[in-house]
């Protein structure tokens, strides 16, 4: 027993790269998660664009009160709409109407317009809570007895629905993560399995050609990944009422592009990892890192700036953007052009690099 124990330890320590990866990668993932959730002692602040059409003391006071709880940016109405509807950088923008100060000082109620992206779900609710808090604090400042000085008019900028359920916010992210996990590991491990089984050398000299055979194997993973993604989202639809959008073609196109990029990521992991042992920590780190950076677990606004800057470079960001547009914003085929385009380009580049690395590495042996 002692001999087996010593042998296994020796084997483990002999593969220095696997050892390094199994230590470094968890540290990296833990750092990303910790940074995303606890990067600031005061907690992440929501971005709330404010359109100040009033320009009076009450709107100014509102802005100051809001700034205690959120990152307030005074913008024009067009810019507020862009931030909420197009860039999706903010869950909601507030419009303080002209004459707000006068009505407020007269003790008359005012209507504040809230331009929302319901796809941001709980973040929109958070903005509404901030609005109530602001009204309460402003009431305490300006008119301690009066109540209900503010009424709210909500306008959805990104679709027709005024609310999305919590499942619709969570299910797509988790579905993507599980497909990522299954496809990355499936793709990377199957490559190393061929080597461990001794069939890789035969494949390398097979008449069909190395690339064709590899692409055949990847094609199988791609189909499995697409089916898995469709089944997971269909389960979410049936079980939790998650919308699948109004365009089946958009849904299918996005799913295929996402899975293609994920298969390519799996191929890159297979190319980078020299051994099966290296594949496990590397693959796990890729899955977790991509899930965290891409917004599969939490909204991207909670992340620190450096993570937000990095986010466009990961495939999950684009897959999640497409899924959110499709499911939460009820957008169609046209809205898929950008995320699908980026995913396909991303996948092609990653696949090319992974195939090249894998071939160079294993042809040399």
């Amino acid at each position: 027993m002692l001999a087996v124990f010593r042998k296994d330890l020796r084997l483990f320590f002999r593969d220095r790269s696997a050892l390094l990866l199994s230590l470094l990668m968890p540290v990296l993932v833990i750092t990303i998660i910790a940074q995303a959730l606890f990067h600031d002692d005061s907690g992440p602040k929501l971005l709330v664009p404010v359109v100040n059409e009033d320009g009076g003391p009450v709107a100014t006071t509102f802005e100051k009160l809001l700034a205690e709880h959120a990152t307030v940016r005074e913008v024009t109405r067009a810019e507020a709409e862009r931030l909420v509807r197009d860039a999706n950088d903010a869950a909601a923008a507030m419009v303080f109407p002209q004459g707000l100060s006068k009505r407020y000082l007269q003790g008359r109620p005012s209507e504040i317009e809230l331009l929302t992206d319901p796809a941001a779900g709980s973040d929109v609710e958070a903005v509404k809570v901030l609005l109530l808090l602001m009204d309460k604090e402003a009431g305490a400042l300006a008119d301690p007895f009066a109540e209900d000085k503010i009424t709210l008019r909500e306008r959805n900028l990104t679709g027709h629905r005024l609310a999305v359920n919590a499942f619709e916010q969570r299910v797509p992210g988790f579905a993507l993560m599980f497909v990522l996990m299954a496809v990355v590991f499936g793709t990377a491990l199957t490559m190393h399995d061929e080597r461990d089984w001794g069939t890789l050398s035969r494949l390398l000299v097979a008449p069909g050609g190395f690339m064709r055979i590899l692409l055949g194997k990847l094609g199988a993973r791609f189909v499995v990944g697409v089916v898995q993604m469709v089944l997971l989202l269909a389960w979410g639809h049936w079980m939790f009422g998650v919308s699948l959008g109004s365009s089946p073609w958009a849904f299918l196109l996005l799913t295929m592009a996402s899975v293609f990029a994920i298969v390519a990521a799996g191929m890159l992991v297979a190319g980078v990892a020299r051994t099966r042992e290296q594949t496990l920590p590397l693959g796990l780190s890729v899955v977790m890192g991509l899930s965290a950076l891409g917004g599969c677990w939490w909204p991207q606004w909670v992340q620190p700036d450096w993570m937000k800057d990095l986010a466009p470079a990961v495939l999950t960001t684009w897959a999640m953007q497409g899924l959110n547009d499709l499911i939460l914003r009820d957008r169609g085929l046209q809205a898929m052009a950008l995320p699908v385009g980026v995913l396909v380009l991303y996948g092609a580049a990653t696949l090319g690099l992974g195939l090249w690395l894998f071939r160079v590495r294993h042809s040399a042996r």
Binding site: G55, G56, P57, V58, T60, T61, S101, K102, L105, Q106, G107, R108, E137, A140, L141, A142, D143, P144, F145, A146
Partner: protein, 196 residues
């Protein structure tokens, strides 16, 4: 003759030495202007909000006739109440109104005041003012009444809406929803809460 001159001089000296009541020295406009000028100095001065609130409250206590305001705002609810209840209401309303007014004044970061017309009719007067901000002007009219202590503000009309009427509507709603005792309870709670 010398006695008459001496008497006249003594009388003149006595008259000159007599303290002149503020009401006699200041008309409604002058009084309002002095109070607002001093308010502006307090608002613009360095110092924290609580300190400014305290200074403004001290300044306005002598200017606002909150008993008259309380009567305008809650006349029908005070009828038939015991003197203790009325006294307590007036005390609470005084603190509450002064706080409300000063807090509203503090909403304006660095206000400028413009002065309009002064209309005096017997013992009543109206003074028109405007709070001038970089983007807008807010009409604030003061209704004053001459009392033995001098001119005092008995109502403030912001953009055409009387604060007394505003409070009356709120008090009516509060009493209809609950009771006069409930209203007193709410005022006690509001006044007991430290000003923010």
């Amino acid at each position: 003759m010398r006695r008459a001159v001496a008497l006249s001089l003594a009388l003149a000296t006595a008259l000159a030495a007599r303290p002149v009541p503020a009401a006699d020295a200041e008309g409604p406009m002058a009084l309002t202007r002095r109070i607002l000028t001093r308010s502006n100095e307090i608002v613009r001065a360095s110092g924290d909000r609580k300190q400014k609130l305290a200074e403004l409250s001290d300044l306005l206590r002598g200017f606002l006739d909150t008993e008259a305001l309380a009567d305008r705002a809650a006349h029908k609810h005070l009828a038939g109440r015991s003197p203790e209840e009325v006294a307590e209401f007036q005390r609470l309303f005084h603190d509450f109104f002064v706080r409300t007014y000063t807090q509203r004044l503090l909403l304006f970061d660095a206000p400028d005041f413009a002065y309009g017309a002064e209309t005096v009719t017997g013992d009543d007067a109206k003074v028109g003012t405007e709070v001038v901000t970089p983007n807008d002007r807010f009409a604030v009219d003061y209704t004053l009444h001459r009392s033995p202590a001098g001119w005092r503000a008995t109502d403030i009309v912001v953009e055409g809406v009387s604060l007394a009427q505003n409070f009356r509507a709120q008090f009516d709603a509060a009493v209809a929803k609950d009771s006069f005792q409930g209203l007193l309870e709410r005022l006690r709670a509001k006044v007991a809460t430290p000003a923010t």
